[in-house]
Structures are given as structure tokens and as C-alpha cells.
């Protein structure tokens, strides 16, 4: 092995071991985020509604105004109902968010409420972060109070790029081993699978990691933006996204019809309105920012129209400039907000293939060292094995604990959403503790736990909401039915894995004795 290859192997091995646990959690929550609206429907039974033929902004405006006034918020934003999220999703700055245990600085946290798409009346508070928790874990480890979670994720992302490149350079026989997976040979199986998934999945893993890093370029690499905009906070965003702003007048005024403004916006773009943000609701200087929705394009478009709310007059029309359009295209490749079911499923499966890549990397590290470490009396293998179990099957157990908590906690409970998140972390910590305390049987027992928990989640959904699989399929509610079916599939895979693992354990016994 040349010194260069040896150095690449060193980098690949130790970056992998050091950051694999974090990377696995990021790939896992990222894969689930592909279906995060579907997970939302599963975790928020009150939003399992039919999308009406037409929805009215004027019908929902009073409720949104009242929510914003109640929280003393200067603005509110609504995501209009879609087939995937058939309710008005209203967010506004608030410091009385039910999801946090700690008092927050005013305006630092966004509260979210759902409104009925037919009447515009507020729905019962779901008391859960649902898919949003998994999604925000994916890019900032779900840290809400301090914005530090982005940095470990960015580090892991850069490390992933380095791992992809170094792994390809170390791999000696790319062509010869292109389709190779010798699953019967214990010594080779994990490395074969690691290589096959790594090489065959390379285009996707590279693309998703790179676009993920570019997503937060201004956080990781703030210098280019600080040159033209100086220290002025948000200067770029104001110019690129929201070039219009005006202060509150302090004089109350009746609003004109938001529906008419939305119709005008749709006429100008030739696309429907996706989001509306109203600044200074109820004020004479109230204005509305509208952005379009386009399910057929990759780009997450940021064209924006500003309307004077009391008169309904168009104030300003901002068309995304080329640099922003390029950025939105790259971001769109990562977010896949577009409507394309085969690609969504492929992203989901290839994201999970990233999990397989990381897990098999760990397994190879363990298998190639176990004998030597045992002979030398080193603790490394035992520690990393616990780390591997806790960060792979452990995060799956944590996710299932989160889903089960969602169905078990009473709806009247204070800080209910935070309690659900507590179950997630408790499940994860328990899995780590178990993995380190029972190294011999941790894999088998955690696989069995996953199978049991996944089935329990499906049963709890059926018993607490009445929406069992037969009913959701008959109703055509594929979001809820899909989550249930994926839970059952996971339970099946976990059960088969547990069986294989137990057979291996039985096979091991005579060798030892």
C-alpha cells in the first residue's frame, strides 16, 4: 500500500468511527424527512382531513390574526392546504410554545397551529412536534434554544464528503467487486456490502451530502456574504427574498380581501399561491408577502409579491435573481418538495442505503479488530460495538418510542410535545446503556425490541384513533396507511434479523465450549 493510500485509509477509518454515529442519525432522520408530512398526519389525528375543492384565506384570517395578537407577534405566516397537508398551517413568533420546557426569549421560537381548511377555525392543538422534530434533528440536531446544532451536522457533512472520496481512493477493486456481495462469508460480508453500497450509491450520497452542505452555506462560510453586506444582519435575505418592509403605523384598519390578492398573485405568476405572510395584522400599514407553489419543478421558488392589506393594492413584485434561482435549484434537489412519487421513494431508500453504508463500515471495523483486541485485552472493540448498536438500532428504537409516546400521552398534558421528545431521548439512552451493558446479545435483543415496538405503534394507532389499516386504505388515506405499512415492514425486517442473529448466537455456543 502506498503511503498516500495508507493515509487515506487512516482518514477513512477514524473519521468513520468518530463521526459514524452522528452520520447515521443524520441519514436516518433525513430519510424519514422525505415523508415527514405523512408522519405528521400519523402523529396528528385531528389533521387527517379531506382537502376541500377550494380554500379561503379570508375565512382563516381572523383566527390567524387572533393567534398572532394573543402571542404579541408582529406577523404570521400560513402554508395553504395541500393534498399532503390538508389544513392551514399557521406559524407565528411566540414565547409561549408548548413544546419547550424553558422560558424563551420573545420571538425566538415559532409556534404552530393548524386551522380547519373548510371553516378556518383553529383545530385542537396536536401537542406534538411530529415530523418537524425528526426534520430539525436532521439539520440541527433539533436544538431549539441555542442555534449550535448546525455546526456538528456541517462537520459531519464535510466529513461525509471526505469519507466518500477517501473510501473510493482506498477501494482497490472497484470494477472487479462492482456487483459483489458474499453474504455467506462472515469475514467478507460486511466489507462487500459496504463497498457495493458505497460505490453504487456514490452518485446519490455525494449529491445529497453536497447539496446539504450548500443548503447552509451562509452559516458555514459567512465571509462571502459579509463582504457586500457588512455586519448588517439579514441584509442579504432582505435583498434576495424580501426586498420590501415598512414599520407599523399604530392605527387600526380593516383589511381588504386576501383571497382577491391571492387571485391576482396567481394571475401574475401563472402558479397558485403557496404561502402568505401578513405583517402588522390589523394595522393601517399591514402588508402581505405571497410566494408561489410549484409541485412540478425542482426549484423551491422564491418569487415574491407584496400587497397593501387595507387596500389590496400590489406594492412590490420581486422576481428571483439568477444567483438565488440557482441556489433554490440546488436546495430543491435536497428537499424534493416536488411531486414525484418514484423519486421520493428512491430518495428514501437511497437515504436508508446511506444508513446501511455507515452500519456496515462499523461492522467491518469491529470484525477486523475483534480477535486482536481480545488477545491484547483492549477495550476498543467493546466500546465501539456499544456505540454501533446504540447509534444504529438505538436511533430506530428512539424513533419508535417517539411514535408510541405520541399515541399514549394524554392530550391535556402540559408540555406534551416536549414529553414526546423526552421519550425519544430516553429510548435512545436506554438503547446505548443496554448496548454497553449486554454486549453479547445487544444486537439480537434490540432487533427484537424494534419488531415489538413497531407492531405496538400500529396497534396503538388503530386503538386510539380508530384508523386501522383496513379503514385508512378504504378511505384512500395513504399517508396514515403508508406509515402503518412501513412500520409493519420494519417490524418484519427486524424480526427476520433477530431470528438470523439468534441462530448465529446458537451456532457460536459449541465453538466456545
Amino acid at each position: 500500500m502506498t503511503p498516500f493510500k495508507a493515509s487515506m485509509l487512516w482518514l477513512h477509518t477514524w473519521f468513520g468511527v468518530a463521526l459514524g454515529a452522528l452520520l447515521f442519525a443524520i441519514f436516518w432522520t433525513g430519510s424519514l424527512s422525505v415523508f415527514y408530512k405523512e408522519i405528521d398526519r400519523w402523529m396528528m389525528p385531528m389533521t387527517r382531513l379531506q382537502l376541500p375543492a377550494s380554500v379561503s384565506l379570508d375565512a382563516m384570517r381572523p383566527a390567524a390574526d387572533a393567534l398572532a395578537h394573543g402571542a404579541n407577534a408582529p406577523h404570521w405566516k400560513v402554508y395553504l392546504p395541500t393534498t399532503k397537508e390538508p389544513v392551514h398551517n399557521v406559524i407565528y413568533p411566540s414565547n409561549t410554545d408548548s413544546a419547550t420546557l424553558f422560558p424563551e426569549a420573545p420571538g425566538s421560537i415559532m409556534a404552530r397551529r393548524f386551522l380547519d381548511p373548510n371553516t378556518g377555525a383553529p383545530l385542537e392543538d396536536p401537542g406534538t412536534l411530529a415530523g418537524d422534530f425528526l426534520y430539525s434533528f436532521h439539520f440541527k440536531l433539533a436544538l431549539r434554544r441555542f442555534p449550535v446544532g448546525y455546526y456538528p451536522v456541517a462537520l459531519a457533512g464535510m466529513a461525509m464528503l471526505a469519507l466518500i472520496v477517501s473510501g473510493t481512493l482506498v477501494h482497490g477493486r472497484i470494477i472487479a467487486n462492482f456487483f459483489l456481495f458474499r453474504r455467506q462469508k462472515k469475514a467478507r460480508a460486511s466489507l462487500d456490502l459496504h463497498n457495493a453500497v458505497g460505490i453504487l450509491g456514490l452518485p446519490f450520497h455525494f449529491l445529497i451530502t453536497l447539496t446539504g452542505i450548500i443548503f447552509f452555506y451562509n452559516l458555514h462560510y459567512p465571509l462571502p456574504l459579509s463582504i457586500p453586506y457588512g455586519e448588517e444582519a439579514g441584509g442579504y435575505n432582505r435583498e434576495a427574498i424580501a426586498a420590501y418592509a415598512r414599520p407599523e403605523a399604530g392605527i387600526p384598519a380593516e383589511p381588504a380581501s386576501l383571497d382577491k390578492m391571492a387571485a391576482e398573485a396567481a394571475r401574475i405568476w401563472g402558479r397558485p399561491v403557496g404561502t402568505v405572510r401578513v405583517y402588522h395584522p390589523g394595522d393601517q400599514n399591514a402588508y402581505a408577502l405571497m410566494m408561489p407553489r410549484d409541485d412540478s419543478a425542482v426549484s423551491d421558488i422564491r418569487d415574491s409579491l407584496f400587497f397593501d392589506v387595507p387596500s389590496g393594492e400590489l406594492l412590490y413584485n420581486q422576481v428571483a435573481k439568477p444567483a438565488l434561482a440557482t441556489e433554490r435549484f440546488i436546495v430543491g434537489l435536497h428537499l424534493i418538495h416536488f411531486r414525484h412519487w418514484p423519486v421520493r421513494w428512491l430518495y428514501f431508500l437511497l437515504g436508508l442505503s446511506g444508513c446501511v453504508l455507515i452500519a456496515t463500515g462499523f461492522l467491518y471495523w469491529l470484525e477486523s479488530r475483534r480477535k486482536r483486541h481480545t488477545a491484547l485485552g483492549l477495550r476498543g472493540v467493546r466500546f465501539v460495538e456499544g456505540l454501533t448498536v446504540g447509534s444504529t438500532t438505538g436511533v430506530i428504537i428512539a424513533t419508535l418510542a417517539f411514535l408510541i409516546a405520541n399515541r399514549l400521552l394524554p392530550s391535556t398534558m402540559p408540555v406534551r410535545a416536549a414529553a414526546e421528545v423526552g421519550w425519544f431521548y430516553f429510548g435512545w439512552l436506554a438503547a446505548y446503556a443496554h448496548a454497553w451493558l449486554r454486549p453479547g446479545s445487544a444486537w439480537y435483543e434490540q432487533a427484537k425490541t424494534i419488531a415489538v415496538l413497531a407492531v405496538a405503534a400500529v396497534v396503538l394507532n388503530a386503538t386510539t384513533t380508530g384508523d386501522h389499516l383496513l379503514r385508512t386504505i378504504a378511505r384512500g388515506d395513504w399517508a396514515v396507511a403508508g406509515v402503518d405499512m412501513m412500520l409493519l415492514v420494519s417490524a418484519g425486517i427486524a424480526a427476520v434479523s433477530a431470528k438470523v442473529l439468534s441462530r448465529r448466537q446458537v451456532a457460536k455456543v459449541p465453538q466456545v465450549g
Partner: protein, 105 residues
């Protein structure tokens, strides 16, 4: 969608059979005097056929995304077929033999 998957899967099967190890696993016989030049060409045509189909289905941008992600999925599918049920590749081995006959005639 199914067409894209089928074409790229078939292409990768032909490519895999160009390797002696996989040929032996699929047919149970040691390979003789192969592969011919035609198989990689046919494989490339099948995979490009998949590209054409996905571009036709979804346009340039979404079509390319679909094709690239399907490539990984179908190549992994071939890998797993070879690992669990290698004999399923026998029809492609027949196709490969036919290629050799065409070239030798």
C-alpha cells in the same frame, strides 16, 4: 417507471455476467471464451434506453434525477439477486450466449 427499472436492471445483469465469477454463479458452468464485445455494448444500450425513457417521462431535470437514482437501485438489485438467487440471471446468460453466436457467425 417500471420500464426504466427493467431496462437498467437488464443492462446491469449483462454487465455482471461479463465477469467470470458471476457467470459461473448464474449458469453453474465455467465460462468459455467470453465475454464478447457485444455484451457491454448491448448493456450500455439498455442503460441508455432507460435514460431515454426517463427523459421522455419526466423531462430533462427530473428525468436525469430519476435515471441516476434508478441506476443505483437497479445495480444494487442485481447485486442482491446475485447474492441470493444467482440462477435468476440465466435468461440474461442466454442473451449473452446469443450475442456470442451473432458475433461468431
Amino acid at each position: 417507471m417500471g420500464g426504466v427499472l427493467a431496462l437498467t436492471y437488464a443492462g446491469f445483469c449483462l454487465l455482471a455476467l461479463c465477469q467470470d465469477r458471476h457467470w459461473t454463479a448464474a449458469t453453474g458452468r465455467k465460462p468459455v471464451k467470453r465475454p464478447s464485445r457485444l455484451e457491454p455494448v448491448l448493456a450500455a444500450l439498455l442503460i441508455l434506453g432507460g435514460l431515454t425513457l426517463s427523459l421522455y417521462r419526466d423531462g430533462i431535470i427530473l428525468g436525469l434525477i430519476l435515471w441516476i437514482t434508478v441506476l443505483t437501485a437497479s445495480a444494487l438489485a442485481v447485486t442482491f439477486t446475485l447474492s441470493w438467487r444467482p440462477t435468476w440471471l440465466r435468461p440474461f446468460a442466454q442473451l449473452s450466449k446469443w450475442c456470442q453466436r451473432v458475433l461468431s457467425d
